[in-house]
Amino acid sequence: MTTDIAKNKPAARGLPVAVLLAGLSIGFFVAVALATGEVAQLGGQGIVGLLQRMVALGLVALGQTFVILVGSIDLSVAALISAVAVLASHVMQGDPAMILPAILLCLGLCLAVGLVNGVLVAYGGINPLIATLGTGLIVQGVLAASFGALQGAVAREFQVLAYGGVLGVPYSILLLAVLSLAAAFVLDRTLFGARVYAVGGNPEGARLAGIRTERVTLSAHVVASLFAGASGLYLAARLQSGTPWIGRDGIYDLESIAVTVIGGTILAGGKGGVAGTLAGVLLFASLDAAFNMLGIDAFLKQVLRGAIVVAAVAIHAVRTKGHVA
């Protein structure tokens, strides 16, 4: 067994999938813009608009990538996004002095929900689909019941997050970029990242290697909830006041899972990363933008999106099979 040398395949790790997917998305977007004569979409404004479409879903999906990598999943993010948006606008009541307390309170709520999710999944041994569906339902229910008492609007100054920018680049895009780089760095270069991959790839092996797997799973859930919180704050800034349905209407729970999986992160955990997820988000954003240019109606749009999700995952399945054989 020492005679044959392991063939050093070019590291097929996330990047090629991400590059391919991003290329496809951009190509599609450009082609549709040219075909419909909306050449303005290819200028600075159009590109910024396209990237801005990525922000809300992108932020949730970054967090979702952590939980999926660790072999779990989080269905409570949509409800949490709504809760954060509502809470932020209620606490601020248009008062700029309350921006910081509102943000801290919102992130505190996310921390709490993330801890509950993590404890249920990691220590309670409850299936993550059920556990996070449950916490999501609870958050959604409490929110809907108490919304009457939670009216309010965010401060004008806070809306800069959604509408302001430097040198023509909106703050929201910078936020997504910075958080993406941070997430990629954490997953690729830190101890915590290595443990996330270990626990997702082989929980029993990781435990025997001395990793406290429960803590890693718990932390991943907290990360996911905090990213959902970031997304909720961004939506509150954009919409001025939150409603209990913005998360649900945006289908952020299922779409964040879809883009993560399209980006090559496997649901079983242990393989994937941030680059792929962002490419998946870009795909969704360019599809949206292209469908708008084409004037496709909302229902057909939904159908096409669904078909593309299935096709993308099927392509992954075929590719992986090809590797095995």
Binding site: M1, T2, T3, D4, I5, A6, K7, N8, K9, A11, A12, R13, R189, T190, L191, F192, G193, A194, R195, Y197, A198, G201, N202, E204, G205, A206, R207, L208, A209, G210, I211, I266, G270, K271, H323
Partner: protein
């Protein structure tokens, strides 16, 4: 007497609800010694090693490392004390690189930031030390099982383990890789590592061990130096029987008519496959890991079908494009990976035994009648001596031997003519092995045929009437009953001057 034992466990006892797993077991291992533990499944080997590895806490007894008393509460503590356990089931991350795997849980990091360059270098040095030419940057999924095993060993050596426990390290390896692994064990012993070696393969144990300890039913039977422990003695101590009746006697009458005939069989992994199986015959298939012996089994059962050539059953040509066609034609399959491919672990013994019958039944067959009746299948299970408190219990709770027997019942119920066994006794203890060999013989003696693919050479030699040896996707030769391991190896390695002894019965 001169060297202090690197490891000494004394009076170790451990009870689980309803079972006394260990009862006052003493065990020690000197520096630079290979100490083998033998015993049937359930004898307490795994429990003893889990106590040593910190996964379980003993009810009584003490563990001393180089004379100092230790108590472990988490596997990490045992690892830090210099104990490394290479588990039977590989614990690698397939999508990560070799270096990342070697450092799993023990990454080199400064303030939480990984030092990848340092990990790569250390991994390369470790791999070099064990003589493995593996690129630390290669993803583990691109390595063969044998190389993955080497990565496991490198991982174990990372912490400079002074005590290395190897639990069935060769179970998934073929003969050639096993030999290389044994050489490596010898090298590590030379470096002063204490090695605890657990294996069911007797020739390996007697080849490598300095001392041998036998466990039976949670107690130590004896510990002896290798010279004082011939294989016969070991087996007798383990099961209380002699080796002579381990393999069933060869059939008295010559084999009958041709049941299965394969001509020019070929697919991506196979070429020029031609052989036949006669009634009453057990045909063994030997070969190294990548020889195509597994692919042959998969082709016969329609899992990865032949793309060319013809297969005839009882003289009639049959198509074997899918497992369903193979099953309908009368070919049964007993896969090597029982847990994943052979069983529905959470379902009852009875359900598992009925699996094929039910899947081949029509949509409107009434369950619970005729052959489907619990009473009918229970009778068959009892005939096969499947031991379970109740055939309604989950099959996952049974021992490997009993699980294998339940799968045999499944195919007997389907009245298959040919059974294809892959690694029929992997991970199965000696007593159950003998029972499975007897069952195979009885099946063949009833006028049917068996193809058995195995990496365990003594097993093939003991049980098969004829051995086909595969090399690079083709059959490199055939050997009659009574052939030696040397001859099989010769053909398996594809040596040109192989003694071509054709044995057309």
């Amino acid at each position: 007497m001169t060297a202090a034992p690197a490891l000494s466990m004394s009076g170790i006892s451990k009870a689980f609800p309803g079972v006394r797993a260990l009862d006052g077991v003493d065990f020690d291992c000197l520096p630079g010694e290979v100490h083998a533990i033998c015993g049937e499944n359930g004898a307490g080997k795994s429990t003893l090693m889990k106590i040593l590895g910190g996964s379980y806490r003993p009810d009584a007894g003490e563990i001393r490392l180089a004379g100092a008393n230790v108590h472990f509460t988490h596997p990490r503590q045992a690892a830090e004390a210099g104990i490394s356990i290479i588990h039977q089931e590989l614990s690698l991350l397939p999508h990560r690189t070799v270096a990342e795997n070697i450092f799993m849980g023990r990454e080199i990091a400064r303030r939480g930031i990984l030092d990848r360059a340092a990990m790569r270098e250390t991994a390369a040095a470790l791999l070099c030390r064990i003589g493995a030419q593996i690129d630390p940057q290669a993803p583990v999924s691109s390595l063969s099982i044998a190389m993955q095993q080497l990565v496991e060993i490198a991982k174990a050596l990372l912490l400079d383990a002074r005590i290395l426990v190897m639990d069935e390290p060769t179970a998934a390896l073929d003969e050639r890789d096993s030999r290389a692994l044994l050489e490596l064990v010898g090298t590590l012993r030379g470096e002063g590592v204490s090695i605890v070696y657990i294996s069911h393969r007797m020739p390996e144990v007697t080849a490598i061990a300095d001392r041998i300890t036998i466990l039976k039913d949670g107690r130590k039977v004896w510990t002896r130096p290798r010279e004082a422990a011939p294989i016969g003695e070991i087996v007798r101590a383990m099961v209380g029987r002699d080796l002579e009746d381990f393999y069933p006697p060869p059939p008295a009458s010559p084999p009958g008519a041709v049941l299965l005939a394969v001509k020019d069989g070929a697919n991506a992994a196979l070429r020029d496959i031609a052989f036949d199986v006669r009634a009453g015959e057990i045909v063994g298939v030997a070969g190294l890991e990548d020889s195509g012996k597994g692919a042959l089994a998969q082709a016969l059962v329609g899992d990865a079908p032949f793309s060319g050539g013809t297969v005839a059953l009882r003289g009639r040509p049959v198509a074997l494009r899918t497992p369903r066609q193979a099953t309908a034609a009368g070919i049964g399959y007993l896969p090597g990976d029982r847990k994943r491919e052979g069983l529905a672990l959470r379902q009852s013994v009875r359900d598992n035994a009925l699996l094929t019958l039910r899947s081949m039944a029509g949509l409107f067959t009434r369950p619970g009648r005729g052959a489907f009746a619990p009473r009918a299948i229970d009778g068959k299970l009892r005939d096969m001596d499947v031991r379970a408190a109740d055939f309604g219990q989950e099959i996952g709770t049974l021992s490997g031997g009993n699980q294998q027997k339940a799968i045999i019942v499944r195919w007997l119920a389907q009245a298959s003519d040919i059974l294809v066994f892959v690694e029929p006794t992997r991970g199965i203890d000696i007593a159950a092995k003998a029972a499975i060999y007897r069952t195979m013989r009885a099946f063949a003696d009833s006028g049917r045929g068996i193809v058995v693919v195995s990496s365990d050479m003594p097993e093939l030699i003991g049980v098969a009437d004829r051995i086909l040896v595969m090399h690079q996707g083709g059959i490199s030769g055939q050997l009659p009953r009574g052939a030696g391991e040397e001859e099989v190896m010769h053909l398996a390695l594809g040596l040109a001057d192989a003694p071509q002894r054709e044995a057309r019965a």
